[in-house]
């Protein structure tokens, strides 16, 4: 594989890791009003992601930064054509971020209520919008040779785009429910486990519809038909789904969560592989497609970034896994009563 192709897949990988890590944060935030009935239950839920969500969110900054560094033309055209959608993601992410930190700072039910709403919106909306955005990218965005967008925010809310949004929300809901099952005890865990089991058939149905709809709405399958071995990626996504259900039945939450992570990563790669070599296809004319070939940085920049990523991403993964293990035990009453910093 040449540099541009390597970078294409690294680009996909970084987005996949972002969805895999922040995915459960979004899922738990979306579930907050439904699983957390009392203040203590809500605090338990927030505490389950408390030490980790900052680190998870940096994968978004890295995915964005790497898009900028390796494919500046894609970064420029993608972010400006999707202006309104991205700004909406930003606004809601900002609210979620401060809400997680601010909620516990005052012991007043109304104060807490406001920030809970922000956590919910700031988790549900980005999950939905990332799904809508990526589904639309799979389908192609109406932009011309100069990278100028011929559409509006509503253009993105087409049936296939919305289906992608629902798929992301369901993936993250299950992912979050499984994380809660690992990290909590008592009623929160019971409710989370129930949500995971109820969400599963819906997720399977949405995933099947999405795979079928992609046949009609996108050109994703062209690469698969040319190289049938690639269908293994879809098989992996299916295997992840099935394994998650089996592990849920056996109450092996960590394994179920890992299976869900496999599903999320392989779903992302399902799209990324289908897109190759395009990163940002145009629905107006395929001649305008931005690809790994016509939109990349110079070879020197790609080389330097490759060294940076090969050196630092494994280091980051090592210390993040260490942090995951450090905070791997169940959220206990002692954690919530802790004098400072408890949510």
């Amino acid at each position: 594989m040449d540099l541009q192709a390597i970078w294409f897949f690294l680009w996909g990988l970084l987005w996949a890791i972002f969805f895999m890590t922040s995915g459960f944060d979004f899922g738990i935030g979306t579930l907050l009003p439904f699983i957390g009935k009392t203040d203590e239950e809500k605090r338990t839920m927030i505490a389950s992601l408390g030490p980790l969500w900052h680190g998870n969110q940096v994968w978004l900054i890295t995915a964005g930064g790497v898009t900028f560094a390796a494919f500046p033309l894609v970064y420029a055209v993608m972010f400006s054509t999707l202006y309104s959608a991205l700004m909406l993601v930003l606004f809601t992410l900002i609210l979620r971020g401060v809400a997680i930190e601010f909620r516990s700072q005052q012991n007043d039910p109304r104060w807490k209520r406001i920030w809970e709403i922000c956590i919910f919106i700031g988790s549900f909306a980005p999950a939905l919008l990332f799904g809508v955005a990526f589904a639309n990218i799979f389908k192609g965005i109406p932009f011309d040779a100069d990278g100028i967008y011929h559409g509006n925010l509503l253009t993105l809310l087409n049936p296939y785009g919305l289906l992608g949004g629902v798929l992301f929300v369901m993936l993250f809901l299950q992912h979050g429910a499984l994380w809660l099952s690992i990290k909590t005890t008592g009623t929160v865990q019971q409710r989370a486990a129930a949500v995971g089991q109820k969400a599963w058939p819906v997720l399977v149905a949405v995933a099947v519809i999405f795979l079928a709809a992609s046949w009609y709405a996108t050109d994703l399958y062209a690469n698969y038909l040319n190289h049938p071995a690639l269908f293994l990626v879809i098989a992996l996504a299916v295997a992840g789904l099935l394994a998650a259900r089996l592990f849920m039945a056996g109450q092996s939450w960590i394994k179920a969560w890992a299976a869900s992570a496999v599903t999320i990563v392989s779903c992302t790669f399902y799209g990324v592989i289908g897109l190759f070599p395009s990163l940002f296809p145009s629905s107006l004319d395929s001649a305008f497609n931005l690809t790994a070939r016509n939109a990349s940085s110079s070879p020197l920049t790609l080389k330097i970034m490759l060294v940076v990523v090969i050196v630092f991403v494994p280091i980051v993964l090592i210390y993040q896994i260490w942090a995951f293990k450090l905070f791997g035990s169940k959220v206990a009453a002692a954690d919530l009563a802790h004098e400072e910093g408890a949510y």
Partner: protein
Amino acid sequence: MDVVMLSRLQFYATSAFHFLFVPLTLGLSWVVAYMETRYVRTGDETYLKMTKFWGKIFLINFAVGVVTGITLEFQFGTNWSGYSKYMGDIFGTLLAIEATAAFFLESTFIGVWHFGWKKLSAKAHAAVAWLVAIGANLSAVWILIANSWMQNPVGYTIRGGRAELTDFFAVITQKFAVLQIIHVLSSAFVLVGFVIMGISAYHLLRKQNVDFFTRSFQIGLVCGLVGSLVVAIEGDLHAKDVTEKQPVKLAAMESLWETTRQAPIYLLALPDEENGRNAIELLPIPGALSFLGHGDVNAEIRGLNDFPRDERPPVLWTFLAFRGMVGLGTYFILITIYAFIRRKKLLESPLLLKILVLSIPLPYIAIQLGWVVTELGRQPWIVWGMLRTADAVSAVSVLQVATTLVGFFLIYSLLGIVGYYLIFKHAKQGPQLESA
């Protein structure tokens, strides 16, 4: 207003707001790590209380700094796609390295630090505090390298209608970047010094937690004094570098219109941009500007009228911002020297303590003014001498940008009010309620 002006306003508002919170985290991260290390070394509980009290102020600032930082990274694409296409090969690389090699470190370990008190040994926990400080400051270093490249592009060639990287080492080691890094990181120490001294002074005036706040004050004093001296010494080198690389910016900073040998600095001046002269010029210090720019009172300094009108930055605001920053910087040195002299008699110096409480906002203002000089003084260029700001904007509509500008205004106002309300509340409360 057109898309260019709206996008500039939006970038100004979002970056200025971001940088109300970030500088304190830069300086405070070191201070908290130091306090915690003292606790581990001496076993003195007061240091532990100090770590937690000042650490909480760090955490609130960090929370707001992080969420507003994402906005900045995205805006290069959303609002400045012309810039991103042209400069991404170099600028994007620096931002991506910042995230991968620095920001991950800070963000991952801040969670560990915040929640790991009972999970880690005291030594390991203190080590985590140092990792946070290193991550935070390295992060700033990469961003400043990127910004310096917009001020003074090096190590590139123009190929295929864009700037491409040719010498990475030149980009990350250029003098402009080194100076800017020293300037920003040491001004963060000035800020943290005045914030700690101010909050401590508030409590000392009320004779609350005297031991706790006297010790905190001493640490703040060292930060403030050393920081403001370093800023001043570095500022002198910085001015000479700007004279060489951005002569028109220097002329605007001092509102010098005609090219002059033995150029003076007028203590009182008011630019008249329409007529290309100063409306008021009083109290000259002969040769001072030549000395500032070249280290030689007889040297020639190029005036604004030597440059085409469409290559000059807005003079009035660049000039006023520079004056304000230098004035405040001078004040910081004088007041910290005085505080140093009185450091053993703080409780008997209520006037000094009152002044220091009231001085808390000043380094914030100085830092904001410094960025106005740097960024407004760079106009009309987005990359000095290479790409004009007006040519860098995205093909988005006025309505889109106006809407998001209003959105940012509303959300950031909320963040600002709540963030500072929480910091004030915590600072006023003091440490005694911490263990409740």
